[in-house]
Amino acid sequence: MKLLIIEDEQALRDNITHYFNDDGNICESCSSLLGAINKLSNYDYDCVLLDIGLPDGDGFAILEYLKAQMKNEAVLIISARNSLDDKLKGLNIGADDYLTKPFHLAELKARVVAIYRRKAFNSNNKLVFNEIAIDLLGRSVDVNQIPVTLTRKEYDMLLYFIANKGKVISKNALAEHLWGDEMDMHDNFDFIYTHIKNLRKKLLEATANDYLRSIYGIGYKFSPQ
């Protein structure tokens, strides 16, 4: 996947680039509206991460540019403004998703993977990870062709883990992913433990390999090894 990260905060840009690069993606980045339009006019990308508040202008201009040029990049807006209006405006002009700062890199990755999948494999709704096959439309999971029944939360979690495979995901990131912003239940991690335990048990019972590892009480890692 080839990504363009448009973000004026250097520290954040570096971390995002680093996080995505590890997975074999190609990341380019720039910090201004002008630089972004320059890059977009010369190259094609699979996905664009767009910060709305840029020093030399409004990030919405990039959405307009992409639309005018009939370019097909998937766009995920990163904004420091948690405003419903901005969100609707962005989605209306052609953004695929909207993420408010601060966010976890794992969440960003999961969202980027999801919109990329939607754009790139319109016909193919199967996501395969070794012996685990997921039907994204039917929301069903097979392990070695044996169906596994997962709850909604377990299914979400599995997708989240696969999108962030090989990465340590903090409990905080998981909690926020599962419960959303509004729940105000982020300090309660007991239920995450329960969900992880159940998901792992179900996958193991369906003869999948044990991919899930707990990392020192900080979080979990889903890795092929």
């Binding site: 700062k101 903090s170 409990k171 239940m185």
Partner: protein, 416 residues
């Protein structure tokens, strides 16, 4: 006591005293004038008597001088000063003695001295005094009545602009975007007051707006650094050579950053509600939303084995779905967070009431400060803004919210 009553009281006391003093002065002045008149009449009478005596050489008969009573008393004194005095006048036609005025003087007739006394009735002057007194009294009473009526009606009419201003100030809402507008009126003083009040109100409003903008901007500016912290932590934990103690430290930073971010979101939400920026009100089925929330929170309820009892009647409200969602989220989160294991949550919805009850700590919460910002239980890990947000959402839609603690249930009652 009202200003007009104060004013009436003062003006009536002053009027009555002035009238009393006036009446006394009046009485003496009229008396004095009447006496003078009588004296000059009597002087004239005695002059006539002397003339008569000199002309006729004999004392006049008493009947010669109308109703005046004249008496002559022989005396050996050669000199008696002429004097006026008050006496009793006996009218021969009437039995009752009347007040009278008399003059006494010395008359000589053929070497014999007589003390001559002429007495006249004062009745006519007394009558005059009474009539004048009665008229004065009547006028005074009329004046008092008129004063009372004037004070009551005209004064209250004069003060109307003042009460208009007071009512406008009572209805003044600092977060309202409307400018305070006071009616122009005929009284300069009240116009001056209105002008000052309007200036003050607009200054207070603009200060408040600045403060709110500051809160909003500060909150927004904090989001990017928070994003950097989170991203750095997410990157840091990828390094599996870190020691467990270091992971522990990172965990705490995660919690702090997450709390800070939630605080920030809550503050921004409050600003939004207070600024009335959430205006996507629509017709919602509240019972449907509540059932949906119960399902959403089901897993969390199960982890604490909390039993939910619901009595939901159909109820439609016009409100923003976003805000009602937050309101329910906060109530549910609190009810779960502060509940005991195997506790209970009772949700009752009727046509005009929404009652949310949960078991929890045995002590009632401080219902006066409960809805204030950053008021939270000692063990609470929340932001301390949850109930403030609930209260503000209720205020926005003019719902009444009250807290009570009875039979071990913490109860939140929202009245539509």
């Amino acid at each position: 006591m009202k200003l007009s009553a104060h004013y009436s009281k003062a003006s009536i006391i002053i009027t009555i005293s002035v009238l009393l003093v006036g009446a006394v002065v009046y009485f003496f002045a009229i008396n004095y004038i009447a006496d003078n008149q009588l004296n000059s009449d009597l002087t004239e009478e005695i002059g006539e008597v002397i003339e008569y005596v000199n002309f006729h050489g004999q004392l006049p008969k008493p009947v010669d001088f109308d109703e005046d009573q004249t008496s002559f008393v022989k005396t050996n004194q050669t000199y008696v000063p002429t004097r006026f005095f008050d006496t009793v006048y006996k009218n021969p036609k009437e039995k009752n003695p009347e007040a009278g005025r008399a003059i006494a003087g010395l008359i000589s007739l053929k070497g014999q001295h007589y003390i001559t006394t002429i007495t006249v009735s004062r009745e006519s002057t007394e009558d005059l005094l009474q009539i004048i007194g009665a008229i004065t009294l009547a006028l005074s009473i009329a004046l008092l009545v008129i004063l009372l009526i004037t004070n009551r009606y005209i004064l209250s009419g004069l003060w109307r602009p003042f009460y208009d201003t007071v009512n406008a100030l009572k209805a003044f809402n600092i977060s309202d975007s409307k400018r305070l507008h006071l009616k122009h009126n005929k009284v300069d003083e009240f116009n001056e007051l209105n002008r000052v009040v309007e200036t003050m109100a607009s200054r207070v409003k603009s200060d408040y707006q600045h403060l709110k903008h500051f809160t909003e901007n500060a909150s927004h500016e904090m989001l990017t650094p928070l994003a950097v912290i989170t991203a750095k932590l997410d990157t840091l934990i990828q390094d599996e050579t870190l020691k467990p103690e270091q992971f522990e430290q990172i965990n705490d930073i995660y919690s702090a950053a997450s709390k800070l971010s939630r605080l920030n979101q809550s503050l921004l939400l409050l600003v939004k509600i207070e600024n009335n920026l959430v205006d996507d009100a629509e017709l919602l089925s509240l019972d449907g939303l509540i059932s949906q929330k119960i399902r959403q929170f089901n897993e969390l309820l199960l982890t604490k084995d909390i039993n939910v009892i619901e009595h939901l009647e159909e109820k439609e409200i016009t409100a923003s779905k976003y805000l009602v969602d937050i309101l329910l989220n906060n109530l549910f989160s609190n009810a779960i967070r502060h509940n005991t294991d195997h506790g209970q949550v009772i949700i009752t919805l009727t046509a005009n009431k929404f009652i949310f009850q949960n078991t929890g700590s045995e002590n009632p919460l401080n219902d006066k400060r409960l809805f204030e910002r950053f008021q939270k239980g000692q063990k609470s890990e929340g932001t301390g803004l949850g109930l403030t947000i609930v209260k503000n959402i209720c205020n926005l839609y003019h719902w009444d919210i009250a807290y009570s603690h009875e039979n071990a249930f913490h109860t939140f009652l929202i009245t539509f």
